[in-house]
């Protein structure tokens, strides 16, 4: 089914936090109001009248950025999380309760039912009963989203928490019940349909239908009950774009279900980090029971170019349609409606429709009257449009004058217009994509970005990122700044991504100066640390029966010491140790080697089938320990059989790249032969197949030009580390031979070379 949604710009407020927009429930009128709280600390409630925004009420500034806005379950009270305090407002805008919590974390997530309040900070889940502490749970990894539902029979609702460490966790009070592994870091959760609390047909014990989204862009549908979680369906993270081939969908920011397409069944709405808003059909209403088993179909999609912070739905324009309401990073509040009247952005037609609806029956008579009145109507609409246009133009002119005056005033104070403090919010995220073994630095700003200047004190490979038209210029680096580069934006955009790859074993800092195109002009410095084992990602466990090298440490260090040293090496570690004995499992995203670690007070053991990993760990830990003046004794056990295993792991990749490089060299000469000879039947079948797939081969090669060199370096460094850990400082004379072997690659010979003795 083709459905067209039209965009309505409702409001522009300050920068927004995730989950700070709510559509108020239906009141006396059918039309629903919207509440939104922004970074200036003001909560505002507004509605649409004749296509124009009318404010119902605005709260006084609450002092901090508003970090969450929710409705009390089944009631019409609005609760706002703001810094460490919770504010409750009535429908009319009266603040009836204010709770100052003694939390240290910002209240990012909020859930309210009757007298119970659940709050979620960075790592801690808190429960309040009648404004008094009821319980708290420290979660193993960062909380990305939180909601509550009747899953276990009991006095209070169960809490579902979406965590960074690829888990959905279910708690009943302070007690952990379930831990479900999902495809990636869970970034959003929601219900399929209403929250069962609101749903009178739902009984305790019935499975709860939920949806979740992940960092990698997967959306999953699942059914949750007291005993288990069952994944019932989902959206793939792949999408095909013309010309660019298939690419990954972006991180899921928020999820919602509503019947937008008027099919009788609920549609799934997905708001993503790159600004994509998707509408998915979940199948026929008639098949309600099995509908989740069907593959969803994409109905409609648009891209807003800035990340979506909150999603909701309701009758906001007053028509018969259920409309999508959303808020973006930069503070835009938008509605998407199937009503064609919204095609007119001035809102005139919307107003017209509203009047018609109010007039009710008179509409019918007008219709009967026919053409003449329609002409009249047309003229009316035209006039109204012109009026609105004029009003807007005047408004813009007035603003311009005012801005000019303010600018001049400020210039009198500071001739260079040097800002007291910037008012533009800039934020960033730095994450690993495992399949490409590279990092993505995402930078988002409240205003359009003008340029980004990058600097790093270690070697960093900047990779081409499809989908941006920014122009990259590199400057010649010096030993202090090996990477100096800058991006100039060509198209206006407030969001930018850079893909980069680091060399394992080096640690350093990457800084980015972000300059938004606002006056007074201010640059924001973003720094992210590049860790020596940057390309490792967390896994639930390691496979037991593979040969591993071992590093044993003992000495007078605490768990916290070891934990902080480890944090220098790998990502995704919780901010502090969560147990007396910590166990970590990591996997190298590129080769697939593993790292297992177990440490407690005084002892630590690390195992890995990659000698490089062990060597890097040893270096960093000894450096850090020396810095803290802690005597640590180290013992390395280099197992000979790990190298064969390591080379086997690398083999498929190396072999493929090697063959590809060979084939690419042959394409051009073969083509010439083909042209000269006319037919190619006399060629060896292998050569014929190269000719057949010539363009594929070239394309593959172009996609990853440096990959072969990257793999070679990896094997060479493994060789170096092997001998270094056995006490040989330099094996440079052997490296040349190894390089030669790699050029004419053959697994057996390289393997044999590794096991050869060095003397």
């Amino acid at each position: 089914m083709d459905i067209q949604l039209h965009r309505l710009d409702l409001l522009q407020c300050g920068a927004l936090q995730p989950g700070t927009l709510e559509v108020l429930p239906v009141g006396k009128k059918k039309q629903q109001k919207i509440a939104v709280g922004d970074d200036t600390g003001i909560l505002q409630v507004f509605y649409l009248k004749k296509g124009e925004v009318q404010y119902e009420w605005k709260s006084p500034p609450l002092g901090r950025e508003i970090s969450s806005v929710v409705m009390q379950m089944a009631k019409d009270k609005i609760f706002v999380g703001c810094g460490q305090s919770i504010h409750g407002f009535t429908r009319k805008g009266k603040e009836f309760v204010k709770i100052k919590t003694n939390l240290t974390e910002t209240i990012n997530h909020l859930f309210v039912e009757e007298n119970m309040i659940w709050t979620g900070g960075e790592y801690i889940l808190n429960i309040y009963d009648n404004c008094k502490d009821f319980g708290f749970v420290m979660i193993k990894d960062r909380i990305n989203d939180l909601t509550c539902a009747p899953i276990y029979p009991g006095e209070i609702l169960s809490t579902v928490v979406a965590c960074q460490d690829k888990c959905l966790r279910v708690f009943q009070g302070e007690k952990a019940f379930h831990e479900f592994a999902v495809e990636g870091s869970a970034t959003a959760i929601g219900f399929h349909g209403l929250n069962p609390v609101d749903n009178p047909t739902h009984h305790v014990g019935d499975p709860v239908q939920m949806i979740y989204g992940t960092e990698q862009g997967v959306v999953g549908l699942c059914s949750l009950d007291a005993k288990s979680m069952r994944r019932t369906g989902g959206l793939s993270d792949r999408q095909n774009r013309p010309g660019a081939g298939s690419s990954r969908r972006a991180r899921v920011c928020c999820l919602h279900t509503a019947d937008i397409s008027k099919s009788g069944a609920l549609d799934l709405l997905v708001g993503r980090d790159d600004g994509t808003l998707e509408l998915w059909g979940l199948g026929d209403a008639a098949l309600a029971a099995q509908r989740l088993d069907q593959a969803p179909t994409p109905l409609w999609e648009t891209c807003l170019q800035e990340s979506i912070r909150s999603l909701g739905s309701g009758h906001v324009t007053g028509g018969d349609f259920v409309e999508v309401v959303l808020a973006t990073y930069g503070g835009k509040v938008l509605a998407f409606t199937p009503s064609s009247a919204a095609k007119d952005p001035t809102g005139t037609q919307m107003a017209q429709q509203e009047e018609k609806a109010e007039a009710g029956t008179s509409l019918m008579t007008r219709m009967v009257k026919g053409h003449k009145s329609s002409d009249l109507e047309q003229a009316e609409i035209k006039q109204e449009r012109a009026r609105r246009f004029q009003a807007l133009e005047q408004e813009v002119a007035r603003l311009k004058a005012e801005t000019d005056k303010a600018r001049k005033d400020y210039q009198n104070l500071s001739s260079e217009q040097i800002a007291m403090q910037t008012t533009t919010k800039v934020s960033h995220r730095f994450g690993l994509t495992s399949e490409e073994a590279c990092y993505i630095l995402t930078i988002e700003s409240q205003a359009a970005i003008e340029l980004i200047a990058l600097r790093a004190d270690v070697e960093v490979d900047l990779l081409d990122h499809s989908g941006t038209s920014a122009i990259l210029s590199r400057s010649r680096g010096d030993p202090q700044n090996p990477l100096l580069a800058y991006y100039r934006m060509q198209e206006e955009g407030s969001r930018f991504q850079i893909r980069l790859r680091t060399v394992e074993g080096l640690s350093g800092t990457l800084s980015a100066f972000v300059v938004p195109a606002t006056q007074p002009k201010t640059a924001h410095l973003i720094s992210v640390s590049i860790k020596p084992l940057a390309l490792h990602e967390k896994t639930p466990d390691v496979s037991p029966d593979i040969p591993m090298n071992e590093l044993r440490l003992s000495g007078p260090f605490t768990v916290t010491d070891m934990h902080s040293w480890l944090a220098q090496c790998v990502n995704e570690l919780p901010s502090r140790p969560t147990d007396d004995e910590m166990v970590i499992c990591y996997r190298s995203t590129f080769v697939g080697t593993q790292l297992y670690g177990r440490y407690s007070k005084g002892t630590a053991i690390f195992r890995s089938d990659s000698i490089t990993t062990i060597s890097v760990l040893k270096d960093i830990i000894s450096k850090e320990a020396t810095g803290k003046k802690i005597q640590v004794s180290m013992n390395v056990d280099v197992k000979e059989e790990t190298f064969a295993h390591f080379l086997e792991l690398v083999h498929p990749k190396l072999n493929y790249q090697h063959a590809l490089t060979q084939q690419v060299r042959m394409v051009e000469p073969l083509r010439e032969v083909q042209l000269q000879e006319g037919e190619t039947k006399f060629l060896h079948p292998e050569l014929q197949s190269v000719l057949d797939q010539a363009s594929d081969i070239q394309q593959q090669f172009e996609l990853q030009p440096q990959k072969l060199a990257f793999l070679h370096n990896m094997v060479i460094s493994a060789y170096r580390h092997k001998w270094r850990l056995r006490g040989y400082q330099s094996v440079d004379h052997r490296i040349k031979d190894l390089q030669k072997l790699l050029e004419s690659y053959n697994l057996e010979s390289v393997s044999a070379f590794f096991s050869e003795s060095i003397d």
Partner: protein, 712 residues
């Protein structure tokens, strides 16, 4: 973009070597250069007569550099095919299967354009080679010749001065676009990379594409817009795809993308994608239905064609006219809303600043950095490094964390970034421009309080780098032997103000001169350390001398000075002994290489004959089943083959050398011309060509020295 048709040629197509010709005067054929020195001709309309032969090949057997069609011979009333190779130009009548002419072109053929030159009645085939532009008529007679600053990379005709006659636009590898009216250069535009393509848009506008992925439009020699992409642009074409009466700029990219851009604003109207790099974009009435189609060829030989959209015609229609107006209004409404949001934000920002300033900033004046901070910039010469130094300094303790400088021509990329460690309140940027071009540097300096600041104020500064910044003024220097002398009717203080504008670190006040009408300024080049003197004699009114051993620099200065003083005609006499000696050597070498070439060609003919003989012999032995001798014959054949390849390499090498020397010759003529202005300038070019043709070396030297040949 919905294609109207699509087909595959089944052969590779080389980038840029595609044209459409009507070889029988009626039916269009795509002609494309393909691998192994062949030209492919696709004749879909011959299918009826000759169903097997939709695709024909012409064997050129040399590396093809350019393929163009046109009615070079007006009497024929049909297009002929012009094929350029590295050493020759071939004009071929496809219909008759006969050559119109074949000509060795010593300067090589890099690009061909077909059109009309002023003062020449018949259409000509203009050939751009190494530092030269030549024009031939249908018989192969040379009607026009001039020199350019570097190898020609693109040619086009466009009426850039709006006088009703198209000028010849020449893009060269030294990043210049020159507009030529006969031999006279109307204007030189310096771009930022090799000019790959120039296409006339309409009237006085033309589009261009650069090697590093920039496409843009010039309106009468001033840039209207440009966009850069990280991909390579392979081809551009101008075609009215949306049927609004104005052609759009269509660009085909290395990554297979085809973009249609509005020629006024550069906005992308629509785009399409291919799996392979786009090789060429052409347009013609290819289906013979009276409608021009845009066609795109990929390097794999896939062809896609689009018709001009019919919606454009509807736009002008009455009914949908309302809708169009409405759509436009809606767009402007959205624009206004966006503007409103932007202004609101800016206003809020300033109000916040004012509030904060009033509340606590008043006493301390402390913002992101002290609010009275200023940034000073100045240029200085650094003799030891041979660079120009840009000094940036804040007026107080605030430190400069990073500097980004955008400027064309100064850096490898379009900008340079610095991150001084440890940061201090002054930064020195070393700049060494490779070319003498005046550019504006757009400096952005991120300034903060300390190393650990998170927010930085961005100082934005535009600073001009003068054209001759790489020449540093000194008090005394020994006078170089080379010099150019000319007379300008100007007072010394006018000359002084030119010097102030074009050099750095020149004092405001003219030094107290020895005579009222004399002037003497000395410089040394920061690149080479060579001296340069500019003097104005007091004895003879307005007699100026620029002393340097570098003829090119002297020429640049003459041109810049004339531009500044608005002098349009200038005669001068030149004396550059060192350059002349070098030039003498160049000419000797040209003779040598030419001699070697003749000799090698003769030798090769001998070897080729030997090959033929050996093959016949071997065949005889085979018939006689004399395997032993057969083997022998083949081994000597192999040897001869090896010799031939070696000979070929020698010849190729020799040819490269010869080309390089010929380029030197052309550049010398260009340099000599640049010492003059107006009529004298074009006269030098014409006289030099004449002298070279007659092999009159003495005459050539005299022309370079005096600007006149022996007769004048």
């Amino acid at each position: 973009m919905i294609p109207a048709f699509q087909f595959a040629l089944g052969h590779q197509v080389l980038q840029g070597l595609v044209t459409v010709g009507r070889y029988d005067g009626k039916r269009p054929c795509i002609s494309a250069g393909t691998t192994a020195g062949k030209v492919l001709i696709h004749c879909p309309h011959n299918r009826i007569e000759n169903p097997q032969n939709e695709v024909m090949f012409l064997n050129i057997n040399r590396k093809i550099t350019s393929v163009v069609t046109g009615m070079l011979h007006p009497a024929l009333q049909r297009d002929v095919l012009m094929v350029g190779t590295q050493t020759s130009l071939m004009v071929y009548d496809v219909e008759e299967n006969a050559d119109l002419f074949f000509k060795e072109v010593h300067d090589g053929v890099n690009v061909i354009a077909f059109g009309q030159l002023p003062g020449i009645e018949q259409p000509v085939c203009v050939v751009g080679g190494n530092c030269s532009v030549q024009a031939f008529d249908a018989e192969g007679g040379e009607l026009f010749w001039t020199v350019t600053g570097d190898n020609v990379s693109s040619l086009a005709f466009c009426d850039v001065d709006d006088d009703g006659h198209p000028e010849l636009l020449v893009g060269t590898e030294d990043f210049e676009i020159r507009a030529l009216k006969s031999e006279e250069v109307l204007k030189e535009i310096t771009e930022t990379d090799v000019v790959l393509r120039i296409e006339p848009l309409h009237k006085c506008r033309f589009a261009y594409a650069l090697m590093h992925g920039t496409v843009g439009v010039y309106d009468k020699l001033s840039r209207a817009w440009r966009v850069k992409s990280k991909n390579r642009v392979n081809c551009i074409d101008c075609f009215d795809l949306d049927n609004d009466g104005v052609p759009e700029l269509i660009a085909g990219w290395e990554n297979g993308k085809v973009e249609v851009r509005n020629e006024k604003s550069g906005e992308v109207i629509c785009k399409d994608y291919f799996q392979a790099p786009v090789a060429a974009l052409v347009h013609a009435d290819y289906r013979l239905d009276g409608r021009e189609t845009l066609m795109c060829l990929t390097s794999e030989g896939d062809v896609r064609g689009w018709l001009p959209s019919s919606s454009g015609a509807e736009h002008s229609g009455l009914r949908s006219g309302v809708a169009a107006v409405e759509a436009k209004e809606n767009d402007s409404w959205r624009e206004l809303t966006a503007q409103k949001a932007e202004l609101t934000q800016e206003l809020a920002s300033f109000k916040e600043q004012l509030k904060q300033y009033k509340s606590d900033g008043k006493e301390t004046g402390q913002g992101v950095i002290p609010t009275d901070t200023k940034l000073n910039a100045s240029l200085k010469a650094n003799k030891t490094h041979g660079t120009v130094e840009l000094h940036l300094m804040t007026s107080n303790y605030s430190v400069i964390r990073a500097v980004v400088i955008f400027a064309e021509h100064l850096f490898d990329g379009e900008a340079c970034m610095l991150h001084p460690l440890p940061p201090s309140n002054n930064v020195i940027v070393q700049i060494s421009p490779a070319k003498d071009v005046q550019t504006t540097m757009n400096i952005k300096a991120m300034t903060g309080v300390t190393l650990s600041s998170v927010q930085y104020h961005v100082f934005e500064l535009n600073y001009t780098m003068p054209k001759f910044a790489m020449y540093h003024q000194v008090d005394e220097t020994q006078a170089p032997s080379g010099a150019v002398t000319f007379v300008v009717q100007e007072r010394p203080n006018r000359i002084w103000s030119w010097i102030q504008r074009s050099f750095i670190s020149i004092p405001e006040q003219m030094p107290a001169a020895t005579g009222s009408n004399s002037l003497e300024v000395n410089f040394i080049s920061l690149r080479t350390g060579e001296p340069l003197c500019i003097t104005m004699s007091s004895q003879q009114a307005g007699l100026m001398t620029i002393r340097t051993d570098d003829m090119e620099t002297a020429g640049e200065m003459v041109q810049d000075l004339c531009g500044f003083l608005q002098v349009t005609e200038l005669e001068s006499s030149a004396n550059f002994p060192a350059e002349m000696e070098k030039f003498q050597q160049v000419l000797t070498r040209v003779d040598e290489y030419n001699a070697v070439r003749m000799k090698l060609t003769a030798e090769m003919a001998d070897s080729a004959n030997l090959v033929k003989a050996l093959i016949v012999k071997a065949e005889d032995y085979r018939m006689l089943s004399d395997m032993q001798h057969l083997k022998k014959a083949f081994s000597s054949l192999q040897q001869t083959n090896g010799d031939l390849i070696a000979e070929y390499n020698k010849r190729a090498n020799n040819h490269q050398q010869l080309l390089a020397q010929l380029k030197e010759v052309n550049m010398m003529i260009q340099k000599a011309a640049k010492l003059r202005m107006g009529h004298a300038k074009s006269r030098v070019v014409a006289a030099c060509r004449q002298a070279i043709k007659q092999n009159n070396i003495m005459g050539l030297f005299q022309i370079i020295r005096t600007g006149h040949d022996a007769s004048g």
